[in-house]
């Protein structure tokens, strides 16, 4: 049997609480990916596509009006030249307005095309990434759960040896320093570290336990005065 070098059971308990916190962050970060994709997709479809569709209609009307005005101005200019009467010197101003309106219309058309292209790209490239996130999410839930269970086994073994009620010592939301009375920790730590019959943590695996179920020796001291104080 390998000798345990556990000088402080709080080390496992503290790490367990970090593992629980880590699992929660993973779940929150990875499970939010689908919602994030949906938000952007809806923004593109509902907000941007609708906006640029309306803009395109509006800007097309403005362009057509400007074009009519330019054609009229062109007619006036040519007619004036033929009659040799009071002439409209040029249709340049109308031409400039028409060109500007056409650029605005083209811009709306390009934006609409761009929005549609991104809607497609998000489906094609975004969905597989969301699937990856979900796959990692499920796997991490399982792997973190197994890790926490293993830490619980180790803690159970340590505290069984020390005969401390683990239910009072494994409180996820409670900081380690509050959950375990300092005096208790000190006594038990020395008991684990100094006892020649200290249990091996490696024996925590089911196979090892089946092979050699080590009877828990009577603890030298009995700690933990009031468990209720640590359950809240």
């Amino acid at each position: 049997m390998t000798s345990a070098r556990l000088t402080n059971p709080d080390a496992i308990r503290d790490f367990r609480s970090h593992m629980v916190g880590f699992k929660e962050v993973c779940e929150s970060a990875l499970s939010g990916s689908a919602a994030e994709l949906s938000r952007v997709r809806d923004w593109l479809r509902v907000d941007q596509q609708s906006f640029w569709k309306k803009q395109l209609v509006k800007r097309e009307e403005v362009y057509q009006t400007a074009r009519r005005m330019w054609l009229e101005a062109e007619g006036d200019t040519v007619g004036a030249m033929n009659k040799r009467g009071p002439a409209k010197p040029s249709s340049m101003e109308e031409r400039i307005l028409m060109d500007r309106a056409r650029r605005h219309r083209d811009e709306a058309e390009e934006k609409l095309t761009l929005v549609r292209r991104w809607m497609l790209k998000i489906e094609q490239d975004g969905e597989p990434l969301v699937n990856q996130c979900q796959s990692h999410d499920f796997a991490l839930r399982e792997e973190c759960g197994k890790a926490i269970t293993q830490l619980d086994r180790l803690l159970d073994q340590v505290y069984a040896y020390l005969a401390v009620p683990t239910a009072d010592l494994r409180i996820d939301a409670m900081p380690a320093t509050e959950a375990l009375p300092p005096a208790t920790s000190a006594v038990e730590t020395s008991a684990v570290a100094s006892s020649p019959a200290a249990p091996s943590l490696t024996a925590a695996s089911p196979e090892a336990e089946a092979e050699a179920p080590a009877p828990a020796p009577e603890p030298a001291t009995r700690p933990v005065a009031a468990p209720e104080a640590h359950r809240a």
Binding site: T2, S3, A4, R5, L6, T7, N8, P9, D10, A11, I12, D14, F15, H18, M19, G21, F22, V25, C26, S28, A29, L30, G32, S33, E36, L37, R39, V40, W43, L44, Q48, K111, L114, V115, W118, K121, I122, D125, G126, L129, V130, Q132, C133, H136, D137, A139, L140, E143, C144, K146, A147, Q150, L151, L154, T189, S200, L201, T202, A204, S205
Partner: protein, 71 residues
């Protein structure tokens, strides 16, 4: 316009914190069970979480670019 969450950074930070907590735990816990735990549980979790953070980062880059170009 929706915001990009920055979840990849959160996950990276959580991973860094977990790694630091693991290192700290070596002060009071050093035995074969620790090594076994690292090999069987911690390392696969770390690899998986890094892949997860990478996937989130790629997704967020894609969405941010869509918002930048289409706004």
């Amino acid at each position: 316009m929706p915001n990009v969450s920055g979840d990849d950074a959160l996950l990276e930070k959580a991973l860094k914190d977990l790694s630091a907590a693991w290192s700290r735990s070596s002060d009071g816990w050093q035995d074969a069970a620790r090594t076994t735990f690292a090999e069987l549980h911690l390392q696969p979790i770390e690899i998986r979480a890094r892949h997860g953070a990478k996937a989130i980062k790629q997704l967020e880059a894609l969405l941010a670019e869509a918002m930048r170009q289409c706004s």
